[in-house]
């Protein structure tokens, strides 16, 4: 579980996060949604320790990040897996080397053990044929799967994904969403996904927090979205005609 308490963050005079408090639950896919510039990425980067909040605390299963020593922070980072928006795979390495990188850097496992684990996670994300390929030889969806494999190879407790569907077609997006969800449930990980893809929200949004101009404007589940009267979230969700129609249809059914 990750607990965010009253987090504030400014860049110069611009206050990007204005006292955000929430809980990201273990074994669930927690989604941060909001318009561009709403503070989603800053919140995610604050969770990752890339940005230091000006105020407030972030605690990982009771460990307050700002109170940890540098060694403890380093140890905590080995419990974190991250899937970047552009996958951020290392160009000079093959798929196998990319996935095995965290194990080589942070564990004392033998080469055979690393190979076994790498083979397992590559199979888990269904990329059996790609072991020796370089990232440039892979499609966007395959790169995302490699990024997921690399993120989970060291058995993380926390998985963060920044716009995992950006640049992917709807079919591949659903495959990636489901893969992240399955992994979250299978390994009981606390997963936090930063997205503005409403299809993802409806597919895997077990807990959704909606940010608007740096304020947590709404939180709930994907089912709650159709019932809520919160103006901020309805404005955001129903800016899409497709969701307007879905809501109308659902309301008629009820």
């Amino acid at each position: 579980m990750i607990e965010v308490k009253n987090v504030e963050k400014s860049f110069g005079n611009a206050k990007v996060l204005k006292g955000v408090s929430t809980i990201f639950e273990t074994g669930k896919t927690n989604l941060i949604i909001g318009q561009s510039g709403s503070g989603k990425t800053v919140l995610l980067k604050s969770l990752l320790g890339i940005h230091t909040p000006d105020k407030g605390t972030i605690s990982f299963d009771g460990r307050i990040y700002s109170d940890l020593t540098p060694d403890e922070k380093r140890a905590l980072r080995t419990e974190i897996g991250m899937v970047f928006q552009g996958s951020a795979l290392f160009d000079s390495m093959t798929v196998e080397e990319n996935v095995g990188f965290p194990l080589k850097m942070f564990t004392n496992k033998s080469t055979a053990e690393i190979k076994e684990r790498v083979d397992f996670v590559i199979d888990r994300v269904d990329l059996k044929e790609a072991h020796h390929k370089k990232p440039s030889e892979l499609s966007g969806g395959m790169q995302k799967r490699v990024a997921i494999a690399r993120a989970i190879v060291n058995n993380p407790k926390y998985l963060f994904c920044d716009e995992p569907n950006s640049g992917l077609d709807p079919k591949t997006s659903i495959i990636i969403d489901n893969l992240i969800h399955e992994i979250t449930v299978e390994y009981n990980i606390t997963t936090v996904i930063n997205t503005h893809d409403m299809n993802s929200v409806m597919e895997i949004g077990e807990k959704i927090i909606f940010l608007k101009k740096g304020i947590l404007a709404w939180e709930g589940t994907k089912k709650d979205i159709f019932k809520t009267d919160n103006e901020a979230i309805t404005d955001f969700v129903y800016s899409s005609n497709l969701f307007k129609k879905i809501r109308k249809a659902q309301n008629k059914e009820e």
Binding site: I50, R74, R77, I80, F84, L89, D91, M105, F106
Partner: protein, 219 residues
């Protein structure tokens, strides 16, 4: 880390050998021909061609001008490769994993460039060889004259001076382009700009350090 160092040696040192050999050989030849063509006074001995070629190549051409050329080749490679890693979030990925990205990316380059003096040693040899071939086969001096010139008033400290400079330039070549790549902001266009800025600053620093070291060591 060992694998990374070997990869950097391959990328930075081995991959530079071809261009260094080519430039050194022909510039050595040109220095030799230019010297010969300017020796119009029959009282000036022919061995001066070998002497001038040796002095030019060992003191300045090999250590300094090859380093400036390498600021373009190695420097832009370092800046663009680290800059691209920054743009594509690969450096963020390292940081999130808990890897000290600065150390991971820059340290192997500094270690690899400890071999840079070998490149300059090869450049010195080929420069003088090119000069010898140009002088002898161009009919400007006999082989004996040229070799006498090479041995004339040889000061071993000049070699030490050249290699001291080379070590300083190696450090500059590893660090300034890395700095420009690591701290760049923006996208693909900025990677190109950072490479250009990095080349300019590396070249300027090499010229200034060359002046300071020459003042300190030879005067």
């Amino acid at each position: 880390m060992r694998t990374l160092i070997f990869k950097e040696i391959d990328d930075l040192i081995i991959d530079s050998l071809g261009i260094v050999c080519f430039i050194s050989f022909f510039v050595g030849g040109v220095v030799s021909i230019q010297t010969a063509l300017n020796l119009t006074n029959p009282l000036i001995p022919k061995y001066l061609i070998g002497f001038a070629t040796r002095q030019s190549v060992i003191l300045e051409f090999a250590p300094t001008f090859i380093s400036i050329i390498m600021a373009g080749k190695m420097g832009s490679f370092i800046t663009s490769s680290i800059g691209t890693m920054r743009v594509t979030e690969q450096i963020d990925a390292l940081e999130v994993m808990g890897v000290n990205s600065l150390n991971y990316l820059v340290f192997p380059k500094i270690i690899a460039l400890l071999l840079y003096p070998f490149v300059i040693g090869i450049s010195m040899f080929l420069g003088i060889l090119g000069g010898w071939i140009a002088a002898v086969y161009g009919g400007f001096a006999s082989s004996n004259d040229f070799i006498t010139g090479i041995q004339q008033e040889f000061i071993p400290f000049h070699i030490a001076y050249a290699f001291i400079k080379t070590f300083a330039f190696a450090l500059i070549l590893a660090t300034i382009p890395s700095f420009h790549g690591y701290y760049m902001k923006g996208g693909a266009l900025e990677v190109g700009k950072a490479s250009t800025v990095s080349f300019v600053w590396t070249a300027v620093t090499i010229i200034l350090v060359n002046y300071i070291l020459t003042q300190l060591l030879l005067t």
